[in-house]
Symmetry: C2
Subunit: 687 residues, 2 copies
């Protein structure tokens, strides 16, 4: 039966992963579809006015629709709360590191984030949908695996066994991975992102299930996007396709240029982190939580963005469609045909409008296009600068939105610029590779991911031919960026006071002893304890766990049989959670203080206890205990964790850090040579 229940539990996990994948894929589909419709409506309206030669109306319609979309996005965040804004990656990273961010993964933030994201991305703000998809995926992971409702008192039994911290964290990490997979159409990249960036703990089984879930999510999105009836062929293309070429269009000497792109990406990435974090600090300190000012800020940014997009598109000259030179060695390139006409006469196109008066996917596809001369150098410079500046302002606004797409755009912009510049002096330069490598470098520069980023780029462009340039640029960009500051997520977590534990202990504390950092104000409880003593312990502090000490007579008579709340030093026996004590008191699992009743049945109330712990923990002032109960005895032994880790007070700080981080602990008791509790370590003591 152990084996059977184990099989059942494993099968349940796979099933939950399947559901997570399907839901995440479905939401990615809804997102793409809604954004397409909303943006399509907008551009159709505006182009209508342009065609009928009414530029003023066109402009006003453009700004108006954008502002309206944005207004809805920010209203959603104001209604639902701040957790629906931004990308949510710092919160997810923190959660998976072991920090409990209250209610960051509930239904309300999930719903709010989806709606806000659809509206803000449609509005043309310089943000991307991928970051929030990670948060959405995590929230779906939490929702599916912890499915229950206290309102209708529905607690499905098969999910009860996954109510523990470890399983919940695993499902949330699966959800995060599938979110990024569905967004990019990159199942392997999603798994790697979760391994490299999001998760702090790793196991082979988990990776394997994550992989499955990512594939389901990607497949669901693609399946729905194509519409089953219309075409029997599968185009599992992700966001971007990159025309295949018969030749490898770069030479060894060009690796130097790619190194240069890496350096630029690192510098720009670090600059982005610097400016964006300072802006967000300023926002935190001056705007605080004044909703009206936040709303006004968003509206100002969207109006500026709209004006920039519209006017910079008008300022550049029109170019002849027929001037575009298609590289003869390129096997397939569907991107060059569709440039944006904007105010240009038929047969011509506006290069700036093709980048800004369009949706970001299309713009990126054009930047990665294999045709070499669709953009001029000045247009690329202006585009890159505008995009960079406005991305800094847009990130951290009071709407849902991520950074991947804007950073890819900036990277593709300067990459293509440098490619075309080099192409002026040397023959046979393919600027599209430079755009691709520039994107990778820029992303590595701001978020310092490495291997997952490379895989995502490969999956996006469906080819591994440019692996070496991409890897080179990503590595250099990371090194250069690391020289100046940390990744944007690390800084955001600092800003949001999320106590994140890096995988290595900080150097400054490396030589410390654990006794220098541990918390000596540890409160212990005896194994056998009166209700009165427990209540006064719970009232006196808000610790989440208490080391349990021996309370039975030992050989040398040192410890009394203490039923009271004796505070005499006694040896360590285990660890008990505050919430578990509360549940014991709520369920009245206690005895009269006579030795005959005591110790008789250690399973007394155990089933009820397990069931109750999966629900919301009771509050201290909601306990229904009268004076006569106060003298009863609670036997903590069956309910404490006797496999809780302890360390001796001879430990070094860095060894304790590694143990804490690797095992994903929340509390670590420190004992001395007599096995007496001398301190406790929590996450905050280690920072």
């Amino acid at each position: 039966t152990t084996r059977l229940s184990h099989l059942q539990k494993t099968f349940g996990k796979w099933l939950i992963c399947l559901f997570i994948g399907v839901f995440v894929g479905l939401i990615a589909y809804i997102l793409k579809l809604s954004v397409d419709k909303l943006q399509g409506f907008k551009f159709a309206m505006v182009q209508n006015f342009i065609t009928s030669d009414e530029p003023a109306y066109a402009f006003l319609t453009f700004v108006g629709i954008n502002s309206f979309y944005c207004l809805l996005a920010v209203l959603m965040v104001i209604v639902v709360g701040p957790l629906a804004s931004s990308s949510g990656i710092p919160e997810v990273k923190g959660y998976l590191n072991g920090v409990k961010v209250p209610s960051s993964l509930g239904f309300r933030p999930l719903f709010g984030k989806i709606v806000s994201l659809i509206m803000s991305y449609s509005s043309g703000l310089f943000i991307g949908p991928e970051g929030p998809m990670i948060h959405i995926g995590s929230a779906i992971g939490a929702a599916v695996s912890q499915f229950r409702s206290s309102t209708i008192n529905f607690y499905p039994k098969i999910f009860l066994q996954y109510q523990n911290d470890r399983d919940k964290r695993d499902f949330i990490s699966v959800g995060a991975a599938s979110g990024i997979s569905a967004a990019f159409g990159a199942p392997i990249g999603g798994v790697l992102f979760s391994i490299e960036e999001a998760s702090s703990f790793w196991s082979r089984q988990l990776t394997w299930r994550t992989f499955f879930c990512c594939m389901i999510a990607t497949f669901t999105t693609n399946f729905l996007l194509q519409g089953v009836g219309s075409s029997p062929d599968i185009h599992d293309s992700g966001l971007l396709t990159f025309g295949f070429s018969r030749l490898y269009l770069y030479r060894y000497s060009e690796l130097l240029c790619f190194c240069g792109l890496g350096i630029i990406g690192g510098l720009l990435g670090a600059a982005f982190v610097f400016f964006n974090i300072h802006l967000n600090k300023w926002r935190r300190d001056f705007i605080k939580s004044n909703s009206l000012i936040k709303l006004i800020e968003v509206m100002v940014v969207i109006v500026i963005t709209s004006i920039v997009c519209f006017y910079s598109s008008s300022l550049f000259n029109c170019r002849y469609q027929s001037q575009i030179v298609v590289e003869p060695s390129v096997c397939e390139d569907q991107t060059n045909a569709e440039m944006v006409q904007f105010f240009c006469p038929p047969g011509m196109y506006s290069e700036m409008a093709s980048l800004l008066f369009t949706n970001p996917d299309q713009a990126l596809r054009r930047l990665y296009s294999r045709t070499n001369n669709i953009f001029t150098l000045p247009a690329l410079v202006v585009f890159t600068l505008f995009y960079f500046a406005l991305s800094i302002m847009s990130s951290g606004l009071w709407v849902a939105g991520g950074l991947f797409v804007p950073m890819m755009m900036v990277g593709a912009g300067f990459g293509r610029f440098i490619g075309q510049l080099v192409g002026l002096y040397f023959n046979g330069i393919d600027a599209s590779i430079y755009a691709l490598v520039g994107s990778a470098a820029m992303m590595a520069g701001y978020c310092r991911m490495t291997i997952s980023l490379v895989v995502i780029m490969v999956e996006l462009t469906e080819g591994t031919q440019y692996l070496v340039p991409i890897i080179l640029a990503v590595m250099i960009a990371k090194w250069v960026g690391d020289f100046f500051n940390e990744s944007v997520y690390e800084h955001l977590m600092e800003l949001k006071h999320i106590p994140f534990l890096q995988s290595l202990p900080p150097h400054s504390k490396a030589t410390k002893k654990i006794t220098e950092v541990m918390n000596r104000q540890v409160v212990t409880v005896p194994e056998l304890c009166t209700v009165r003593a427990l209540l006064s312990t719970l009232e006196g502090n808000y610790h989440h766990a208490y080391p349990v000490t021996c309370s039975l007579e030992s050989d040398n008579n040192e410890y009394e049989l203490m039923f009271g709340g004796a505070r005499k030093r006694a040896p360590y026996r285990g660890l008990v959670l505050r919430n578990d004590i509360l549940v014991l008191l709520k369920l009245r699992i206690f005895y009269r203080g006579t030795s005959s009743e005591l110790l008789l049945d250690t399973n007394f109330g155990h089933d009820r206890f397990i069931q109750e712990t999966s629900k919301k923990p009771p509050k201290l002032n909601e306990l229904d205990l009268d004076e006569s109960d106060h003298e009863r005895i609670v036997d903590l032994r069956p309910y404490m964790n006797s496999s809780a880790l302890t360390i001796h007070d001879t430990f070094s700080y860095s060894e304790a850090y590694k143990l804490f981080r690797t095992m994903g602990l929340r509390h670590l008791t420190v004992i001395d040579v007599s096995n007496f509790v001398v301190g406790i370590i929590t996450r905050k003591d280690l920072l």
Copy 2:
């Protein structure tokens, strides 16, 4: 200075990874070059006799050269020892799991393996070079990072800091990853292989360095293979290229066929494991270590293989080169031109010889070819069966050789067969995709890798268009295979008695207490101990570590100030390694037993101690101690590990297992409620 020395240490690690990458890349290059030359010579000789119409001479030459190559391969193994044979993956996996396989990573096995691999792969045995490259990479990782020579007394100081277990293991894991990267031309796949299959411990920093090393290794190999002078273009193609197509040549309904391929791959993989493991068990029990029989066995297999290759190539009819139909939608396919002529008249080719009378890379390329009708169904069936049967016999022979290539070959064989079979009934079937998916399924079926395998296939074929079919087939093949048995590596480790700890504890023991499995025969030593007592402890057993107990007077006078080898129970203080005690005794780091000299200088001899521990540990009978030394006192406190983990005797087995496995421990001391040592857990207690 802490920060500076940390930077220096980190920089040193990167430098070592660079060297590992360059060396591994260089060796992969040497391997490829030598094999090309040796095989080229062989096929040229034989084809010469064929052209001059002397089939008997051709046959004899073929068998003769193959046997000669094989003889050299097996002689190398006999000279160098068994560690040069097979793939070495079980040993590497075991090592990275925490098992010390004596001298498996020295210079001798490294050299022997390289030479044996070159000769055995050239001989046409049905083995592959990728598996041994993992072992070679690991050995290079060990050699570069631990570079020193006791012969010329050369101990470079910068490497001294990496002499600890953890760093050494990390470098070996880096080496293993770069080995597979260089072999497949797949840097990302190599990193993932190391994360998924080889390494038991994972950190972000390590992944990042592994990635760097893999890129260097791949790049070095490609750079050398192309020859810098000849061409300025980069072809970073790995082993195989797969013609790009303008269309996605599969439909949703074909996913069913790919599931079928997954099932077949899983079944054949499980069958391979079953037969191969039984054969290897038989080899272990009956051939044992009789070198002559082993040599004869290898010679028998190579003669059979040669006969099969030669005669099955002759048996099939010749086909007209002009009959080959090139798929019009395929953009690029360089493979169809070069089929093998063998005995056929000009303008015709032998399909069997194109698979068997050629090197395996070429054969695989032909099986993956986009041209649909180069092979007939009977040829594919015969080829697959022969290859499957002879691979089972070849794996585990007394020569170096791996399984990746043979399994890819078998998978491509049945995959292409099924693709062509389906193509008889439905239009528009591209058999090459089936071959690719079949290869992936077969590999997943025998080694049960998932994500790294998918990435390797993608990197090999340079396109992500077939991600969904590959992932589907790999997952199904793994599930089907897992239903029957474990992966071939798990069984081989069992066969070789390598105590490998899986990432999850065995179900059968899940409910046990730690007191049921721990070793109670634990030998402790006091902090202050006479040389005599230490010597008798070391002589009495061969434990690798001893818990150290308190020997100073405590408050309640319980523990005497014991200079002797007192065995009285005393509280736990730390853990000391056997080798460290030996070094202390060798360096004569001990005191007269007077309290005035004692405790004066805790750093006495510390530098010498650190330097000495990096060398080979001294032997007990080599210690130069006379009778008067025996009464001296060794103070173990500065040399013991006071941050060694302990658990209480209340722990459950499964929690202890997780701790042991996750933290990569070798010893775990069990203490009771008084902090007295009651047992110790080693790897073998947990199995």
